[in-house]
Amino acid sequence: MAEPRTTPRTTPRTIIDKIWDAHIVAEEPDCPAVIYIDLQLVHEVTSPQAFSGLRARGMKVRRPERTVATMDHSTPTLPRGLAVVDPLAEAQLETLRRNCAEFGVRLFELGGEKQGIVHVIGPELGFTQPGMTIVCGDSHTSTHGAFAALAFGIGTSEVEHVLASQCLLQHKPRSCEVVFDGALGPGVSAKDMILALIAEIGTGGGTGHVFEYRGDAVRGLSMEGRMTVCNMSIEAGARAGLIAPDDTTFDYLAGRDYAPKGADWDRAVDRWRTLPTDDGASYDRSITIDVSRLEPMITFGTNPGQGIGISSAVPDPQALGDAGQRESLAKALAYMDLAPGKPLLGHKIDVVFIGSCTNSRIEDLRAAAGVLDGRKVAQGVRALVVPGSADIKRQAEAEGLDRIFTGAGAEWRNAGCSMCIAMNGDQLDPGQYAVSTSNRNFEGRQGKGGRTFLASPLTAAASAVSGAIADVRALKGGI
């Protein structure tokens, strides 16, 4: 067998090289590498067929201790009662319960103290750690890259591979550094940074690559902000996006339930400090964005790449040279029922959704509450605030944020994916417009016929009180 083709240790390596090299189990010529997976996260929607496959082969989960399951996609978020939306969802949840019991997998159950969105609880409980390889049958697994993990979404067949072998076949991805330089202006946040990147390179712009986010603006972000950025890497086509670890990372992880403790913690931090990209290491590609020129971003179309600064006008298909692009844009505007050349500011909305694995963490809720405090959700607008985990919900309530939300007339819900994917009954009606802090504005994503404007929690909250798309910086009384 050929020796693994790792980068020679004398050559400066990127953090991507380092994590990749440390996980190669075997590699044969003309074949993808067999790489070891440190952690697999599991949820109810993409796992049943994988467990069935395992059972049909008479196999066990190879490393149940490296497997963590939760319920999030089709779970109810209504504050009272836990009635599941329909028998199909109930059967899927029950299947996960049964599979976890049979195969010895730890499950954070609906109604449990630690339940939540898979990409929220992984970091929150300290399962997600620097230098790890992490997979989940979910494209937003890229979120965990905020902790310097190589983390990406896989299909259900591959979920089965990892359950059975703790390994996955992978070709080494190309690397792309994304440098966010400069300082963010008031009212501009991590969500605006990532929406700006996707608007610049398009939804397929990162295909075949792993992003490493670098630069002063990234260093200045909290872990919550970093997770927001990494979360949407996939919306630019990059399966993974990561950020080198630093004291912000370690401070977040220290003391978490499943993070190393005592001497193990010290050893782990020493190891993690060797992860950052070496000076002189080269990337296959490089993109630089000056964040000081950014304003709050909002999408106008039907993919996350169709985004603009909030004061800009909706682009005109006639101005595009390429016939395919012209047609795509025209189709998107027809679905959204928007006129080209007009700004989105002031466009009436029906719903505001604050939540999802992109923006449902405590900092996101604080940002939204900061805007809603002392204000009211506009008449005729339905606003939902859905925390990412039961833990975040408790923390928000301890801080009194829930009273700000309900006082403003917003709904305060239990943890789950909710209206981001509209599988649990929380959904838009046909034709409704929503400003949403989630990650996808695809046709029908938030409910059949629904129309989504993706934006930050600040923009979402400002729009909720205005009853129309609003610039938080222009809100009367300030941010």
Binding site: Q49, S74, S139, S157, A164, S165, T203, M423, E443
Partner: protein
């Protein structure tokens, strides 16, 4: 998995860029615990109007029923990792998709289910789209062993185009085998890797 060797079919033209997996199969159809029977929900929101088929949508045209090759645009399959997308395509009868590019996760998932993603350059793609517009019944053929796509057009009536395909994925598709058997062949190395880690 059914082996994939050669295929000849007229194409189902769905030439749009950035077709995401939420369009291929909307999330409300993901509340299943089996892989079978998803073809009826393929492109559901484009295909049905409150449950009634839209005759103008390409999949609903009677002549498409036996076709096995989808002609897509750029960045096909972007978005979610749901393998329900290729399950639905395969269940409907799609065996190959021609596009100028595919999203990474979708591409993997397609090959795990015996669907061949065929990437062609923009010029070949544009020529194929024109040829199919001129003669909707024109056929393409795919030879995976030779990695050759034969498209209508050109002076001789057809043109042979070589397409890239990962050698390992090609081997799996040709044999109809899944990758887990290959991974499990490294059981000793996996054990050694775990032991080395535990000792470190």
């Amino acid at each position: 998995m059914e082996p994939f060797r050669t295929l000849e079919s007229a194409v189902i033209p769905l030439v749009r860029d950035d077709v995401d997996t939420d369009q291929i199969i909307p999330a409300r159809f993901l509340k299943v615990t089996e892989k079978v029977g998803l073809g009826k929900n393929l492109f559901a929101d484009w295909r049905y109007d409150n449950g009634t088929p839209r005759p103008e949508f390409v999949l609903e045209r009677p002549e498409m029923a036996d076709r096995t090759v989808l002609l897509a645009g750029n960045n096909f399959g972007c978005g979610s990792s749901r393998e329900h997308a290729p399950w639905a395509l395969a269940d409907w009868g799609i065996r190959a998709i021609i596009a100028t590019s595919f999203a990474d996760i979708f591409k993997n998932n397609a090959m795990s289910n015996g669907i061949l993603p065929v990437v062609v350059g923009p010029a070949v793609h544009a020529e194929l789209v024109r040829a199919v517009e001129a003669d909707p019944a024109a056929t393409v053929s795919i030879d995976l062993e030779a990695r050759v796509l034969t498209v209508p057009g050109g002076d001789s009536g057809h043109a042979r185009v070589e397409f890239p395909v990962d050698p390992f994925a090609r081997k799996c598709l040709l044999a109809g085998t899944d990758k887990l058997g290959y991974i499990l062949g490294f059981d000793d190395q996996i054990e050694a890797f775990e032991k080395e880690r535990a000792d470190a």
